[in-house]
Amino acid sequence: MDLRYSHAEEAFRADLRAWLEGALPGLPAKPSPNDWPGRRAYDTHWQRLLFEAGYAGVDWPVEGGGRGASAVEELIFKEELERAHAPYVGVNFVGLLHAGPTIIAEGTPEQRARFLPAILRGEEVWCQGFSEPGAGSDLASLRTRAVRDGDDYVVTGQKIWTSHAEVADYCELLVRTGPEDSRHKGISWLILPMDSPGVDIRPLTTIAGSTEFAELFLDEVRVPVTNRVGDENDGWRVTMVTLSFERGTAFVGDLLEAFELLTSTVDVARRTGAWDDPGVRRQAGHLKAGLDALWALTRRNVSQAARTGIPGPGGTLFKLAYSETRHELGEFSLGLLGRAGLAADDSGGPGGVGTLPARTVLEDFYRGVSLTIAAGTSQIQRNIVGERLLGLPKEPVAGRPR
């Protein structure tokens, strides 16, 4: 076990850090949170800068146009961007982390040539059409139908939790091409151009007041068969392949944000005098120890991925533990803010206790809620750990094959 970075890794870090120092001051002002066209412009500009500097698709294989970096370099990349407060991947999330890697692995040469460069250059934005109102934890029960008609599929159905749909050019879409009860075995993976007739986008507001997500209503939308990635009815496997691109670094930025939130909460506690209370200090100590442990688990997961090239079960373990720690951190921060946490606007300012991180605390607090729900509730994650990692029996499923 070695926690020291190699010379090559340190050199990668130093180069990146130097580039960030030069690139970040020239960025335009950040657009406001719910200004999606503004955010698209901002995020794609940043992606273009990364591309020009050779940092686009740092974790993509070289044959896909990426840098082909190791999992450790990817960790360093995310760490340095977060520490420098560089822009988040933003609207490029689905293209860079989901759709792109899927097309690299399963797309035709034509599909690769057509879609990958535009993602890397920040020219085209993707969204995800996986979840449905009736298919949350049980993704295999999805009902959006695609019926073959000549060289097209005719797609009708409804999707939910489609992020950045308003400003996306393409959507990675899971549809049912097999019989209604075909579960995992009748799903196909399509590339849906968002300007196709019959696509209707309705913004969805989250409990945090964000309009990042939308519902997608698809009414007899025609998608060329050539836009299918992988074989017909093989979309479930295609989707799973994408997951194998995860290198244990999915939550690096998030975790570093949590360290920052803890630090600023401790700062508030010192200013209000709450830090004189040993109970408060002990809570902070527990949180710091918990986050440090999760940082150690991240390094373990990244090291395993770097060795084997495939993700271990560590990601699921991480998410379960992290959700809990993040929840406790949210409670701690909100508790110390007291009534100053009754709104995201800062009620502090000069005089008294000074400025307060109310916005960060509240956003973080909603983030804590979403962590236990998004991408598989904690309940589903525990099933996965119990069944796949520990080998405990599955639940009997009433009435349906699994």
Partner: protein, 334 residues
């Protein structure tokens, strides 16, 4: 001893529940989301007519002359109806601020934060709706004209039905009551706020259970999976334990020979705050992704519970108060 609702108590609770269903259907409550004003004046007067603010006021003073016992039942129903506005403050002000008791005026209340370099700012709820703002401190109660205050509205309030303002300066105001009234208000306000929390905790439980019966995944209702079922069971336990604690505190205020009312009030709020917050969180969890949408209302109870937890005693202060009773001769045991 008969620690169960008698028939008139049960009827009172049913009556308020009907009133809330008629006057405060969820769509109407939600119409005020995000705005600076959330108090529906007609509804407020209807609450006044039903006695929601004058229940504990003596009959000679034009009140109903009942106890905190009955008031806690009413406030539990108001909590369950997600009724917005400064309900507890207006109830406490009945008899002291003209028009509070019959719901023709809306009265707010804020505890004066300690001054000093490390002091957190003064945040006031519902300012735009208020006719009078009362300020509570150890010395007593003072009245302020809300229109006279230099207040900054705070954007993106935690609870979209509890708009908030920050005050750079909180004037001393017109004294209207002394330290004994203030102490009584802290105690009664804790009980009534805790009653609202019990209502919220119950509402969250009901929503979660309904959804767990209706939503299917993997071919069966999610309420049949132990992970969901047990979340719901724990919610029911929390709500019922908190209900008993709050009602016992209310009865103890009315019958001071049965225990230390201030300690009972603080303990009840501690338990009820936690029940409302945890049940709110669990209700979102049971709803999965839908619980994370603004449209599905379960987040409202969670957010309201968080707001109420900052009123009439925070966790730290309440726990200290209860702990202090463990080291005085009167405090040990049940």
């Amino acid at each position: 001893m008969d620690f169960e609702l008698n028939e008139s108590e049960a009827e009172l609770a049913r009556g308020v529940r009907r009133l809330c269903a008629g006057r405060y259907p969820l769509e109407r409550v939600r119409a005020g989301e995000g705005g600076p004003r959330v108090v529906d004046r007609d509804g407020w007067r209807a609450l006044g007519e039903a006695g929601a603010f004058s229940l504990c006021l003596a009959e000679e003073a034009g009140g109903v002359g009942l106890g905190l016992d009955e008031a806690s039942l009413v406030f539990e129903e108001l909590g369950r109806g997600l009724v917005p506005g400064p309900l507890v403050a207006t109830h406490l002000a009945a008899g002291l601020v003209g028009g509070a008791q019959d719901g023709t005026v809306v009265v707010g209340l804020v505890a004066r934060p300690p001054a000093g370099a490390g002091a957190l700012p003064t945040v006031v709820e519902h300012l735009a709706d208020l006719d009078t703002l009362l300020v509570l401190d150890e010395g007593g109660v003072a009245a302020l004209d809300p229109a006279s205050l230099q207040a900054t509205p705070l954007g993106r309030p935690l609870d979209p039905l509890t708009p908030v303002w920050s005050l750079a300066h909180l004037p001393s105001g017109e004294p209207v009551a002394g330290p004994e009234v203030a102490a009584g208000w802290l105690r009664d306000g804790a009980v009534l706020t805790a009653a609202l929390q019990v209502g919220l905790a119950t509402w969250s439980t009901d929503r979660a259970v309904d959804y767990a019966k209706e939503r299917t995944q993997f071919g069966r209702p999610i309420g049949g999976f132990q992970a969901v079922k047990h979340l719901c069971a724990d919610m029911a336990v929390r709500a019922e334990v908190a209900r008993c604690a709050v009602q016992a505190a209310a009865v103890t205020v009315d019958e001071p020979d049965v225990g230390d009312a201030s300690v009972a009030a603080a303990g009840a709020k501690l338990v009820a705050d936690q029940a409302a917050i945890t049940n709110g969180r669990s209700a979102i969890q049971v709803h999965g992704g839908m619980g994370f949408t603004w449209e599905v209302p379960v987040h409202l109870a969670y957010k309201r519970a968080r707001v109420l937890a900052t009123q009439f005693g925070t966790e730290a202060a309440l726990a200290e108060q209860v702990a202090a009773s463990l080291v005085t001769p009167s405090g040990g045991g049940a």
